[in-house]
C-alpha cells in the first residue's frame, strides 16, 4: 500500500489561480545549448566554490570547473563543452535575491562533448564518501533555495525520522516539478530511495498536490514498481503554501519545526523531486549537475513551456527558445508569482536556484501600489500559514518596536505573501516585514556589540587595575628588597670596620 491519506489540514494559506496549464501542454524542451554560458560559483547557500580552471582553457560538459569550499558548499561544473572566456564578477540570481558572484564565462562550441570522469565518477561505497561525492558533484536543492544537499543530508544522517520528497509545487506558474514527475517518475523514486539510504530514513513520503493528477499517477506507479516498504505517496490539498518546508512537515506529520531551528533538529529533511532526480543521475551515471528544468511562462512569452536548461543560460535566450517576448510584456520575474523577485534585465544567467521565469503582462501582475489604512479585518491572520498576526506586526514594524516584533514572531514569517494578496487595503505587508527583519537584525547586532563592548570594557578595567596593583606590589617588594640589601650591606660594612679596628688594636699592642 503505497498511498497515505492526509489526516490534517493546513491552517492558513490561500487558494490561488494556478496558471500552470499554459506551460504544461508540451513536453520538456531538451538539448538546448546557448552560445555563451555564465556559470556562477556562488549560486548556492554557504560558501562560494573555488575555481580550478583558467581563462582560455577548454572544458567538456560535466567537467568540474570549481570545487567546494568548506561546507556548506558545492562544486560547479561546465554545463556544456567550450572554452573559458573569462572569470569575472557578474550579477546572478540566488534563491532570494540577485547577488554578485564570481562567474566562469564559457563560450560553447555547440558539440556538448561529455566529460569522462574515469574511476572518480563511480558511485562510492559508504555514506561519507557518497556525501562527499554529492558535494563535489554540485548537488544543491533544486526547489529554489539551492542549499548544498550534502550538508543538508549530513545534518540529519543517522537520526532521520522521515525523508519528505517535495513534489507539492504550490506556487502559481511554476510547473517544472510537475513535468519532471510526469516524464521521469522512476528516476525520481530511485533518487528518493537513494537519499533515504544516505540518511537512514525508515520512511520516505513523496508529497504531491491534488492538482497534478498525471504526476500523481506516474509517481504512484513508479513507487509500486519500486516496491520499497519505506516509500509512500501522499496527495495533499492544493493550497498555497503547502509546499513550504515547515508547512509540509506540519501537514504530513503534525510536528512543528521549532522557531529558529531547521527540520533536521526534529529528525526531518525535505528535498525537492528535482534534487532526487539529480541524485539518481549522479549515483547511476556519475553525472554532476549541469542543467535543471526551468518553467518559462507568463502572458509575455509566446510559447510557454518547460525547458531543460544548462546552468548559466542567459534568461533572454530561454525566452527566445520559447517563442520570444510578446509585445505586452512588462516584467520579468525569477521564481513564482508569490515569492519570486523581479529582474532588471534578461542578460542574467540562470542558476540552480532558477525554477521558473515569468515574463508577465500588465494584466497578470499587481499594477498599483496605492494603499488604504489597515481596517483590521484580520484576513491576513487567517491566511498566515505561520499563525502570525500580520496586522499587529505592521503596527510594530511601523513603530520600530523591536521587542514587540520579537514577541509577535517576525522571525517566523516565511515571506510567502499570503497576507498581501488577501489584504483589502492593499498594504504591501510582506515587503514591510522584509524591511523590518533587516532593521531588527541590525538592532540585534547593535545590542550584541553593546553587550560585548560592555564586557570588554569591564575586563580592560580589571586588567588595568590589576596591573596597577601589581606594579604597586612590585614596587613595595623592590623597596623592601633594596632596604634589606642596604641593611645587609651596612651590616657587612660595619662588621668589616669592626674587624679592621680590632686588627689595628692588636698591631699597636706590644
Amino acid at each position: 500500500m503505497v498511498d497515505v491519506t492526509l489526516e490534517r489540514y493546513l491552517t492558513g494559506g490561500i487558494r490561488l489561480l494556478a496558471n500552470k496549464t499554459a506551460s504544461t501542454e508540451e513536453p520538456i524542451l531538451r538539448d538546448i545549448v546557448p552560445p555563451q554560458l555564465v556559470i556562477a560559483l556562488h549560486q548556492h547557500g554557504g560558501a562560494s566554490a573555488i575555481p580550478i580552471v583558467k581563462v582560455g582553457q577548454d572544458v567538456a560538459k560535466g567537467e568540474p570547473i570549481a570545487i567546494p569550499e568548506s561546507p556548506p558548499s558545492a562544486g560547479v561544473h561546465a554545463s556544456s563543452s567550450g572554452r573559458v572566456r573569462a572569470i569575472e564578477t557578474r550579477l546572478i540570481p540566488t534563491g532570494k535575491r540577485l547577488r554578485e558572484s564570481l562567474c566562469i564565462v564559457l563560450d560553447t562550441d555547440g558539440e556538448d562533448r561529455p566529460f569522462d570522469p574515469g574511476p572518480a565518477g563511480a558511485w562510492p561505497q559508504g555514506r561519507e564518501a557518497r556525501l562527499e561525492r554529492v558535494r563535489s558533484a554540485g548537488i544543491a536543492g533544486l526547489g529554489g533555495a539551492a542549499f548544498p544537499t550534502a550538508t543538508k543530508l549530513e545534518r540529519v544522517a543517522g537520526r532521520c525520522k522521515t525523508l519528505i520528497v517535495n513534489g507539492a509545487e504550490c506556487e502559481p506558474y511554476i510547473s517544472c516539478d510537475d513535468m519532471l514527475m510526469r516524464e521521469a517518475p522512476a528516476e525520481i523514486v530511485s533518487g528518493a530511495l537513494e537519499m533515504a539510504d544516505l540518511v537512514g530514513a525508515p520512511l520516505c513520503i513523496i508529497a504531491i498536490e491534488r492538482d497534478k493528477p498525471r504526476a500523481l499517477h506516474a509517481i504512484r506507479d513508479a513507487a509500486i514498481t519500486a516496491a520499497d516498504p519505506r516509500l509512500k505517496v501522499c496527495e495533499i490539498p492544493t493550497v498555497y503554501p503547502a509546499g513550504g518546508e515547515r508547512q509540509l512537515i506540519e501537514l504530513l506529520t503534525g510536528d512543528e519545526v521549532p522557531s529558529g531551528a531547521f527540520p533536521y533538529a526534529i529528525g526531518y529533511v525535505c528535498q525537492n523531486v528535482g534534487t532526487a532526480y539529480a541524485l539518481h543521475r549522479l549515483a547511476t551515471r556519475g553525472e554532476p549537475v549541469t542543467s535543471r528544468i526551468v518553467t518559462v511562462t507568463g502572458g509575455g512569452v509566446d510559447r510557454p513551456r518547460n525547458v531543460e536548461a544548462p546552468i548559466g543560460t542567459p534568461i533572454g535566450y530561454l525566452v527566445e527558445r520559447c517563442g520570444g517576448y510578446r509585445d505586452d510584456v512588462v516584467r520579468l520575474i525569477h521564481g513564482g508569482s508569490m515569492m519570486g523577485y523581479t529582474l532588471p534585465s534578461d542578460d542574467i544567467p540562470i542558476t540552480k536556484a532558477t525554477s521558473c521565469i515569468i515574463a508577465a503582462t500588465s494584466g497578470e501582475i499587481r499594477q498599483s501600489y496605492e494603499e488604504w489604512a489597515c481596517i483590521r479585518c484580520g484576513d491576513c491572520a487567517t491566511a498566515c500559514p505561520a499563525r502570525l498576526q500580520p496586522q499587529e506586526l505592521l503596527v510594530a514594524a511601523t513603530a520600530r518596536d523591536f521587542d514587540a516584533l520579537e514577541s509577535l514572531g517576525l522571525d517566523d514569517c516565511i515571506e510567502c505573501g499570503c497576507c498581501d494578496v488577501v489584504c483589502p487595503s492593499h498594504i504591501v505587508l510582506t515587503d514591510r516585514f522584509r524591511h523590518a527583519k533587516r532593521l531588527y537584525a541590525e538592532h540585534a547586532r547593535r545590542l550584541a556589540l553593546s553587550a560585548e563592548a560592555e564586557l570588554r570594557h569591564k575586563r580592560r578595567e580589571q586588567r588595568l587595575r590589576l596591573s596597577e596593583e601589581g606594579s604597586r606590589a612590585a614596587q613595595e617588594a623592590l623597596k623592601a628588597k633594596l632596604r634589606a640589601d642596604n641593611e645587609a650591606r651596612r651590616k657587612a660594612i660595619a662588621a668589616a670596620v669592626e674587624r679592621a679596628r680590632q686588627r689595628k688594636r692588636r698591631d699597636v699592642q706590644p
Partner: protein, 359 residues
C-alpha cells in the same frame, strides 16, 4: 525548420521595471467590501420602508451628506487625499447604520449632527479609517440619544393589518424633516408609538405577564410587530455577507448566542416575567447589531477566539440592558462597552505561533 539565429542577450539585453513580491494582484479591496455591506442592507431598507415609511431614506440622505461633507472638510484640514477617502464608501456605511438606528421621524438637524459626529469625533479624531476604537455609528447614536432623548424615542408604528396606522408619504416626511411641519391638524403624538421593546419593558415593569402581552398587538408572529420582518431581512443581508466572505461567522453567531442563551434560559424559568427567545432575537436592532454593527472590523476583536468572546459579551450585554437596564434596546451601549475591551481581548487571545511554545 532551420535553426534560427538566437540573440545573445548580453549584446542587447532587454530591460524591465522592478517591483516587490508578491506579484499576484490583491483579491479584494476596501471600497468593494464597503459597497457589499451597503448592498446587504438593501433588503432590510426595503422592509423598513414598507413598514415605517420613508423616514429611513430621508435620514440616510441627510446623514450621508453630512458625513461625506465632514470627511472631506477634515481631510482637507489634515492635508490628506480627499477623493480617495470618499471613494472607499466607509462614510456611507456609517451613515447607513446610523440611519437604521435613528427613529424615522426626525428634524433634519439630528441626522445631520449624527453624520457629523460619527465622522468628526468617532473616526477622524482618532486618526481616520482604521484607527477608531469605537464604532462611529454607535458613538453618534449614543450621543444623540443622550442629548435629545425626546426626539430620539419618537418611533412610528408599523404598517400592519388592523393597527391604526397614520402613514406619512415621502413629501410629508421631508417637510417634517426640513421644516418641522406636519399635515395640518395633527401633532407628533398622533404619529408616534413606543417600540415593541419599549412597550414590553414597560409592561413587565408594571407586572403584566409576557404571555398576556404576546397576545396583544405589540407582538407579531415571532418578534416585535413589524420589527420581526425588518430583523429577518437584516439577517438575510447578513447571511449574504457571510456567504460573500465579507464577515466571518464568529461575531454574528456568538452575538446571537450570547443574546439567545440568557433569553431562552430565563424565559423557560419564568415565562411571565421574561420575554421569549424569538422576541429578543427579532426585535429592535438585534440582527442589525449581530451582522452589521458588531462586525465592524476596525472596532471589533481581531482574533477568532477573541471574536467569539467579543460577540458573546455583546449579546449578553444586549440582554442585560434590555431586561435590567435603563433603555429599551441595548445594542449601541453593548457594542461601545465591548469596543473598549477589544485591546485586552486581542492581547490575550493570540493564537500560538508555529514553532513556538508547547503544543
Amino acid at each position: 525548420m532551420s535553426e534560427p539565429e538566437f540573440r545573445t542577450p548580453a549584446a542587447s539585453p532587454r530591460r524591465f521595471d522592478t517591483a516587490a513580491a508578491p506579484h499576484t494582484p490583491p483579491m479584494r479591496s476596501v471600497p468593494q467590501i464597503m459597497r457589499r455591506v451597503l448592498y446587504a442592507l438593501v433588503p432590510a431598507a426595503l422592509a423598513y420602508t414598507w413598514f415605517f415609511g420613508f423616514g429611513l431614506l430621508v435620514n440616510f440622505a441627510i446623514a450621508a451628506a453630512a458625513a461625506l461633507a465632514t470627511e472631506a472638510a477634515i481631510l482637507t484640514l489634515r492635508r490628506r487625499p480627499v477623493r480617495r477617502a470618499l471613494r472607499d464608501c466607509s462614510a456611507l456605511v456609517t451613515a447607513a447604520l446610523l440611519a437604521f438606528a435613528l427613529p424615522p421621524l426626525l428634524p433634519w438637524w439630528i441626522p445631520a449632527l449624527g453624520g457629523f459626529v460619527s465622522i468628526a469625533l468617532a473616526k477622524q479624531l482618532y486618526g481616520g479609517l482604521g484607527k477608531n476604537v469605537f464604532n462611529p455609528a454607535m458613538v453618534s447614536y449614543a450621543l444623540l440619544l443622550l442629548s435629545f432623548p425626546i426626539q430620539m424615542t419618537q418611533w412610528l408604528p408599523p404598517r400592519m393589518g388592523d393597527l391604526d396606522y397614520a402613514p406619512l408619504d415621502i413629501v410629508e416626511q421631508v417637510r417634517y424633516s426640513l421644516l418641522d411641519e406636519l399635515p395640518p391638524g395633527s401633532t407628533v403624538d398622533a404619529y408616534t408609538r413606543a417600540t415593541p421593546l419599549d412597550q414590553i419593558k414597560e409592561g413587565l415593569r408594571e407586572q403584566r405577564s409576557f404571555r398576556e402581552m404576546s397576545a396583544s398587538s405589540m407582538i407579531g408572529t415571532f418578534g416585535g410587530i413589524g420589527w420581526e420582518w425588518v430583523n429577518s431581512f437584516v439577517a438575510l443581508g447578513g447571511i449574504y455577507l457571510l456567504y460573500a466572505g465579507i464577515i466571518r461567522w464568529q461575531i454574528p453567531v456568538a452575538t446571537l448566542a450570547g443574546l439567545a442563551a440568557p433569553a431562552l434560559l430565563l424565559h423557560l424559568v419564568d415565562p411571565a416575567r421574561f420575554a421569549s427567545l424569538t422576541f429578543h432575537l427579532f426585535s429592535g436592532a438585534a440582527m442589525l447589531g449581530a451582522f452589521f454593527i458588531a462586525t465592524d472590523p476596525v472596532s471589533a476583536a481581531a482574533t477568532d477566539r477573541g471574536r467569539l468572546i467579543f460577540g458573546a459579551s455583546i449579546g449578553f450585554l444586549i440582554y442585560a440592558i434590555r431586561t435590567w437596564g435603563g433603555y429599551p434596546d441595548g445594542v449601541a451601549f453593548a457594542v461601545l462597552l465591548m469596543n473598549a475591551a477589544v485591546p485586552l481581548i486581542d492581547r490575550y487571545t493570540r493564537p500560538r505561533i508555529y514553532g513556538h511554545g508547547e503544543r
